[in-house]
Symmetry: C3
Subunit: 447 residues, 3 copies
């Protein structure tokens, strides 16, 4: 087992990891990302300052399962100008103003002609909505409903200086070898324009988790991918399905991990994978107010990773999950919604889960009956009928260390977190009272 990772005494200075995450996020925020294009490349380049990820380029037209890698999209500028020459909507002010994947346009239109190309949210009249049209050629602008209401009859010049051409889908991949080829898989996405929780929180947390992992001894191999959502995970799966099915022990899709509100996870299809078990254990004992979502509430790349025949043992870890918070997919999902504390909490959640995975062993007690802790200095000697909590935890651990329960099982049974059990396990192994059971870890959901 990789001592360093499982241990609580990390080399990370926690005093400022939240600040560091927030600063990195703020730097990436203005970039106009989409599922392809230079925004993704620029984002990966900045992340490479922290981890040496490999950038892959997959050509337009490549068949990926049921899909085809689309044309690459880039945009220089876009605006709607009124008759007075005032730019009433301008991509330069906010990159959400243009519908993602808009085809180029430059023409003069009446308000009536313009209206079908405008998108706003009457229920959130201050917010610019996030709209895309990846797979049907279209163009459009997004604006706050309040601004839209002000539009007068007249002529408008609409210009979108974009380009849709043969190019590439770009993604980043970071592989950290461990003692075994069994893998922990992290996936996050880099296809959203200027929104903070969904989704720059995922990539910045995943990048700094990668940096931390690089500094630690590792029992498992780690694979972290930074991809565009849906088409990116499908592309990645189409290239690596066999090895992922072979090696992935636990996977986490990391999304929306930056606000201050909920902790949550989206379960796998049958809620029976090791990822479900780990996430549920860590959240139950550390964040008991957490929210568990059914796979029916899915919406991110767990849709691909957990699809029939793919069936990776993966859950999505989040704070306020996509689709559940009012700022979701609007310009309100900004740098004030996501906080240093929120990001730090997201980071710690991923790290806690990884520590549990690294610590997770199955133990068996070596003697019949309870061992005599007293003669080993593990027990208070004067019996008063009331014994200390940690002795109780130790005895409970031993009672269930029968070779059938891993640390997470024991943790679930006795209600103590794995990080409390792991040092006890070490002391007891040292004292010769416990032995590790070698067992084939299941990598498939058993159903």
């Amino acid at each position: 087992m990789a001592e360093g990772i499982a241990s609580r005494n990390s080399t990370d200075s926690f005093s400022d990891i939240g600040q560091e995450l927030h600063q990195l996020l703020a730097r990436l925020f203005p970039i106009c990302r989409s599922i392809t294009g230079n925004g993704v490349r620029k984002t990966l380049e900045i992340l490479r300052e922290h981890i040496p990820l490999i950038v892959h380029e997959v050509p337009t037209g490549t068949r990926v399962f049921d899909w085809t890698v689309p044309k690459e999209w880039n945009i220089r500028s876009a605006f709607v100008e009124d008759e007075s020459g005032r730019k009433i909507v301008d991509f330069r002010r906010h990159n959400l103003h243009v519908v993602g994947y808009s085809v180029p346009v430059d023409r003069s239109v009446s308000l009536t002609e313009l209206q079908p190309h405008l998108h706003s949210l009457p229920g959130q009249p201050d917010a610019i909505p996030y709209v895309t049209s990846y797979y049907q050629e279209a163009w459009g602008f997004c604006l706050s409903h309040n601004e839209r209401q002000k539009l007068a009859e007249g002529k408008y010049r609409v210009l979108i200086d974009s380009e849709l051409r043969e190019g590439h889908l770009t993604y980043g991949e970071y592989l950290l070898p461990g003692e075994t080829t069994q893998e922990v898989f992290l996936s996050t996405y880099v296809c959203h324009p200027s929104m903070a929780n969904n989704e720059l929180s995922g990539p910045v947390v995943a990048a700094l988790i990668g940096r931390w992992l690089a500094s630690q001894p590792r029992r498992y191999t780690y694979r972290i991918v930074f991809i565009p959502e849906t088409i990116g995970s499908i592309t990645y799966l189409s290239r690596h399905l066999h090895v992922l099915k072979q090696n992935v022990l636990v996977g986490f899709n990391v999304s929306c991990v930056g606000d201050d509100r909920a902790y949550s996870y989206v379960a796998s299809r049958y809620e029976n994978t090791l990822a479900d078990k780990i996430a549920s254990n860590v959240l139950s004992l550390k964040h008991p107010g957490f929210k568990k979502y059914s796979f029916l509430d899915r919406g991110s790349d767990e849709r691909q990773y957990c699809s029939p025949g793919v069936d990776l043992p993966l859950v999505t870890l989040s704070r306020s999950k996509y689709g559940t918070y009012p700022e979701y997919h609007t310009s309100l999902d900004d740098l004030s919604l996501v906080t240093a504390e929120g990001l730090r909490g997201g980071y710690e959640l991923i790290r806690d889960c990884i520590r549990v995975i690294e610590s997770n062993e199955t133990y068996r007690v070596t003697c019949h009956g309870e061992p005599q802790l007293g003669k080993r200095g593990l027990y208070p000697n004067l019996s008063t009928g009331r014994s200390g909590a940690s002795v109780e935890t130790m005895m409970d651990f031993i009672a269930y260390a029968d070779g059938t329960n891993d640390l997470v099982d024991v943790s679930n049974i006795i209600g103590k977190p794995v990080f409390e059990l792991q040092p006890i396990a070490e002391r007891l192994v040292e004292a010769g009272l416990l032995e590790k059971v070698k067992e084939e870890k299941p990598t498939r959901p058993s159903r």
Copy 2:
């Protein structure tokens, strides 16, 4: 799969099926039925106007499992006459007035001698109770408690002009072959005198379900039996046990399906048969206020069909179940308790269950990852982060179409009725995205 049955667009005109059921019931109502005799024959003869059922006659004395077919009972008239010659109780007024299977009697008795032969319900003083004595020779009269209270001291002439002799037990059977020899089995009973919910609702609904089935293509073979309760199902089982155990995929005992109140079912012994699964699915999604009864609440022919060693995969479908409504087994269970709307609801429940059975297939998605619905015109193209309900249902269906779930399983998981899923399945099979999985359906409760 039999397209016609599974489809919602039935050829039945639903505008008047309730009326037709009620009229048929009203026509059968006055007949004095018992577990044997001409009342059963007359009833089956009328049902034969709608479905070509075969009438079987089993001789008195035939051994049927632990039982023996009893003598045949017929009755011409019966009354209690007071000294003034007034018939104070008269079989001609209501056939419940005579205890079923009463032996012939013609004598003069005092009120004191008469009392042990009278039956009334102090708690329901207006109701004539339903009483029988099939297996011990006896005679008696039933009357309302109010009438009984009025009886004065004096002499009474009691006459029961009945006949108990070697004869037959009569039952009707209707077999509709389907594409496979696997069977759906319906059973209902024709042994009750003038009572409407329990039990003329069952035979009239089963008969018109039979007529509807005859007009439809059928994946499964259908077997509908019209029998006297208990001795009839035991007789039928003793003759057909092997073939029933071999072929019956799902069975429904149809009883008390005519009032306007509850929907309910009586589960099988271990609640683990396909019949339980179908009934629970249909009722949960269409009649969420339904009542599920344990097998401990049984009381009808499920007692035989689900007995150890017989173990047909069968539940009883009801509206207000026998024994649970105040009019049960009295003269108050009459043509006003059972309504056209009530009968129509009972009919639709059976038909809905049959449609689910006919539709029920196991599907597997043909691609890895989610399919691209957009390129097939199955998806709204402009993503706004909020997609339509039917796309969500389609995607949820695909997510669980992994070759291990039949339509009912998927329906239970995603909470949408089978009739919504079945057309989606067809579209997706057509689009090449789903394929049917051939699997051996279990016909036994797996325990």
Copy 3:
């Protein structure tokens, strides 16, 4: 099956069993017991007046699993005397006054020197606590907090006239052979000084249960052990593990069975043994207000009997369990806390469980469909739609007598106690309607 044991008509006169238990307990109460020594021998000698148990002596220094049999401890007198010669604490007044296993001491100390050797309970200022130091050499006195508060500065003479030397650990064993070598195992402990519920209730109840068993025909072999807690059960297991694992069908640890309050049991590790099933069945149906404790609430010899690799199918049966009542492990656990009624209830609980074990058979109905009870005089003949409760129980029993359920399973399914079902089973076997199914009883928790 052993008719006599299973039957309700015991030869025991229940009118005074509670009194007899209480008198025996009162006689044993003053003896100063510990985990070794003459107090245990004296206790077993008195119990031998009721059952011919064999007394075993295991030498000091014997290795027993992870433990070693300690030195034997005996004590003649002990006191704390003030300067005026007044014995302010005196072992002769209450044997809880001296810390169990105190080494000899005879010296003069200041109050300051004395204090670390004193034990009292500020929260229960009238109670003398029960304190021991078996495995670390120490000496000390226990007294009420009120008395302790009164101690003035000054010199005190402390004397403990005890002896710690090579000797033996003593236990009693009572084996009653039955028709089979499969065993019911009862364990209780004899190591507590003058406390009544925890623990003289266990030995007195177990002894008179042994006497009752001796008077009965027995299907199973019975093994009853009277041991010191922890070291005693570990010693016993170390000598008999193989045969216990081979033969024990059900085991009960009997502790704290003498007060008037709760009924309870401590489940086995995975709550899946026959002992759990029996205890839960008996308590649910006879004492529905009972309390079930998880194995995490364990504290008595179930810790050894259910430890990994030992895994006897055993639960602890109690009234107010150790650790849950305020008088626990203090001088307040006395002859007024434990009552004749309370002890009788504990005795009946053990006896009821044994009767269920002895009665427990698996039956299968011999005919298809329901049997005709009427022709066998088992059914009221005039059907009024309302049948008697016992017929319903009989029919429910038959419905689940399919060869897969033992009497306890049927009892759990239909909610009637085994003692109601057992006579029905006998009648039905006599009538040829049920047959016993020979099945290998599981003796291991199946996990």
